[in-house]
């Protein structure tokens, strides 16, 4: 899987990103996407204690929360990178929120959404080398410390 390791933080090139909100988007079909938190986001939050997704059927505008996550030192929203309806949530997060820490791009996905206007929504997201460059800049500018990974985290090499 093509990826870049920036100070220990993994960016998968095949995904689309909202860099400001630290979320990723994986396109499933013409109007369906899966959304999650990035490796950098899980690192900033620290070991996550609770992750509460919004209910299936919830309509979201861009930037509105699809979930809230909390650790011992952080609480905040996971902001939706697209507008649409939540059609599925990751039920495993209720019992094991640290799936987001250990597997941010795979088992720790947060919600699936349907959007009627996906092509347009995706235009503001970045992918591939553009995403890598944007994250390098963000990590530098925000002085983000090297990503830490819990035991049992996914490996990418």
């Amino acid at each position: 899987m093509a990826h870049e390791n920036i100070k220990g933080c993994i960016v998968l090139k095949e995904l689309y990103y909202n860099v400001e909100h630290n979320t990723w988007v994986k396109v499933i079909d013409d109007n369906t996407v899966v959304i999650g938190m990035t490796d950098i986001a899980q690192n900033l939050a620290g070991p996550i204690l609770h992750a509460k997704t919004k209910a299936v059927g919830t309509m979201r505008r861009l930037g509105k929360p699809i979930a809230t996550v909390e650790s011992g030192k952080y609480v905040g929203p996971v902001k939706s990178p697209v507008a649409g309806e939540i059609t599925k949530t990751n039920e495993n997060l209720a019992n094991d929120a640290q799936l987001i820490n250990r597997s941010p791009y795979k088992d720790g996905w947060v919600v699936e959404m349907k959007s009627d206007n996906l092509a347009e929504e995706m235009k503001v997201l970045v992918t591939g080398d553009e995403a890598v460059a944007a994250y390098k800049e963000k990590i530098e500018n925000d002085n983000i410390e090297a990503c830490k990974h819990l035991e049992g985290s996914d490996t990418y090499d």
């Binding site: 209910a55 919830t58 909390e70 030192k73 609480v75 905040g76």
Partner: protein, 128 residues
């Protein structure tokens, strides 16, 4: 859809503890940020001893997490970044001999009658 029903509700957090009791300063701000993350409208009202943490230069002296650089100032800034409104009691300012220019940026002053109005108009009040 239970969660969505809470969006837009208004929470008023009243904080009466300040720099002399650091362990009583963290949670009210954390709860306020949690409510903001859940898309609620949140205000923290500082009164009595809670007022002194808003004096310029004071909150950064209160180290909340020894393993990191998180101070009470960090928490106040994070709360404001989360769109939590910070307000202080006019009468408490006088109690601490503080002037409006002594306050950190982003804090507004309201009088006692305002807190009564606010507490009646908010959906829930949390008192610390």
């Amino acid at each position: 859809m239970e969660d969505q029903d809470h969006e837009g509700k208004k929470i008023l957090v009243i904080q009466t503890h300040g720099v002399a009791t650091p362990t009583r300063t963290y949670s009210p701000l954390f709860y306020a940020m949690a409510a903001a993350a859940m898309e609620m409208e949140v205000m923290v009202w500082f009164t009595m001893d809670g007022t002194n943490q808003l004096k310029k230069g004071e909150a950064e002296k209160v180290q909340l997490d020894k393993s990191s650089n998180v101070t009470l100032k960090t928490m106040l800034e994070m709360a404001m970044d989360s769109e939590v409104e910070l307000r202080v009691c006019q009468q408490s300012l006088e109690l601490w001999d503080m002037k409006p220019e002594d306050l950190i940026d982003g804090v507004e002053i309201l009088g006692a009658t305002s807190i009564i109005d606010l507490s009646l108009s908010y959906d829930h009040v949390m008192y610390f």
